[in-house]
Symmetry: C2
Subunit: 231 residues, 2 copies
Amino acid sequence: MEFNIEKYHLKSSSLFDSLSYEESLLVKNGIVRKEYLKGECLFKEHSFSKGVYIIKKGKVKIFQTNSDGKEGIVYIYKKGDYFGYRPLLAEEPHPVSAVAMDNVIVSFVPKELFLEILESSTTLAKELIVNLSKEFSVWINKMTIFSQHSVKDKVALSLLILNKVYQRNEDSSKSVFISINRDDFAGFVGTAKETLVRMLRIFKDEKIITTKGTKIIILKHRVLLNMVENM
Amino acid sequence: MEFNIEKYHLKSSSLFDSLSYEESLLVKNGIVRKEYLKGECLFKEHSFSKGVYIIKKGKVKIFQTNSDGKEGIVYIYKKGDYFGYRPLLAEEPHPVSAVAMDNVIVSFVPKELFLEILESSTTLAKELIVNLSKEFSVWINKMTIFSQHSVKDKVALSLLILNKVYQRNEDSSKSVFISINRDDFAGFVGTAKETLVRMLRIFKDEKIITTKGTKIIILKHRVLLNMVENM
DNA sequence: AATAAAAATTGACAATTGTCAATTTTGTTT
DNA sequence: AAACAAAATTGACAATTGTCAATTTTTATT
């Protein structure tokens, strides 16, 4: 089966592209710029959504904390992605928490404004449906892979996903510095930190990856692809 | 943390409730009744959606098959649930296959009709968004639980979910016959059949469940709830 | 550059889970 | 009810993964 990273990582689409001039003016005036320091919380699990976040800079991890205090990282949003609208539409509390992984800047669209535009716009609802549907597919793919495979396979796939997340621009020729701490990486994979580190060691010994400080660089993309394609 | 089955199992809502009289007439005339025998396929992974399925009778499993031929069961839809609209809206191929787990009757809404109504209706899009958002929450919850816990815990939660799936009516006092074969159950949990069976054996020895033939009956609901709440 | 604190890594071992080959039970058909 | 096929269960063992404690490396601070 042909591997396609887009099965596991959503290409971000801009939220308000299709609005009319009046609507986009409304948005422009109602939007709030917010900054978060590394480690700061955007929202907590079980709280109700106050609005929609559009990332301008930095990365935000979305996770659930279990009773041991371990974080299961569900997704990492990056520049251009938006989130926080789902529980708002479903009128449910957030099923996850959101924390800045580095210094983050977002455009925040308050709930009232967002709903107002959703009400008036004929296109926004559709855009949201499409986005939701696509996110859904990404999830199903990640979920089935992750529920059926060894940690080694999961780490291989996660490396490819994170490579995409940490890629600076569309030009894929430059080497990417995956700058994620081991606790977060382990939470993303769904394994113990020590187990994760051991898998990274194996890949490192096989010269599939290398590290610079604590950052990870993929050397043999092709080998990882092969692993994932055959799993 | 208070356990709530609705975090892991979607309450089905009816799809076309909010339509106008004309619209519902359109639906009524365009809908097709279809029947599938146990084991028959409704659609295959990677194919494109031909329309929306609303289950009238029976259960349908939604799964991905990996390269070993193992099925990762993502969801089990039952009477009243609808599905197949997501890839249709996203204009993507199905990420999963759908197979009848017993003899199934569905109402099938062909793609063209569905899109026509979506275009004209002001409420349907919103209903879909809410439904999608809720399904999403269910998934996130299942996913994080399943990526972080032991097979025993996963089986405990799965039993509670399946209890809901196989419940005949809202009256929860009657005992439910969970009539699922061990391969499917294992696929739902994401473990090997033998491992699943061993966990069931443990629960059986502890008199938490019992079996009648190959069907499973939960005896001590409370014990399972406690397990899940503390995980 | 030296130092301290935090993060990452490794080792040793235990616990969990998967695999393969029997064996038993269940369901179906005659 | 007997006989067969399919499904479920068990046993034995190997492989994978998690835990805890120690050590090393990296990062931040002076």
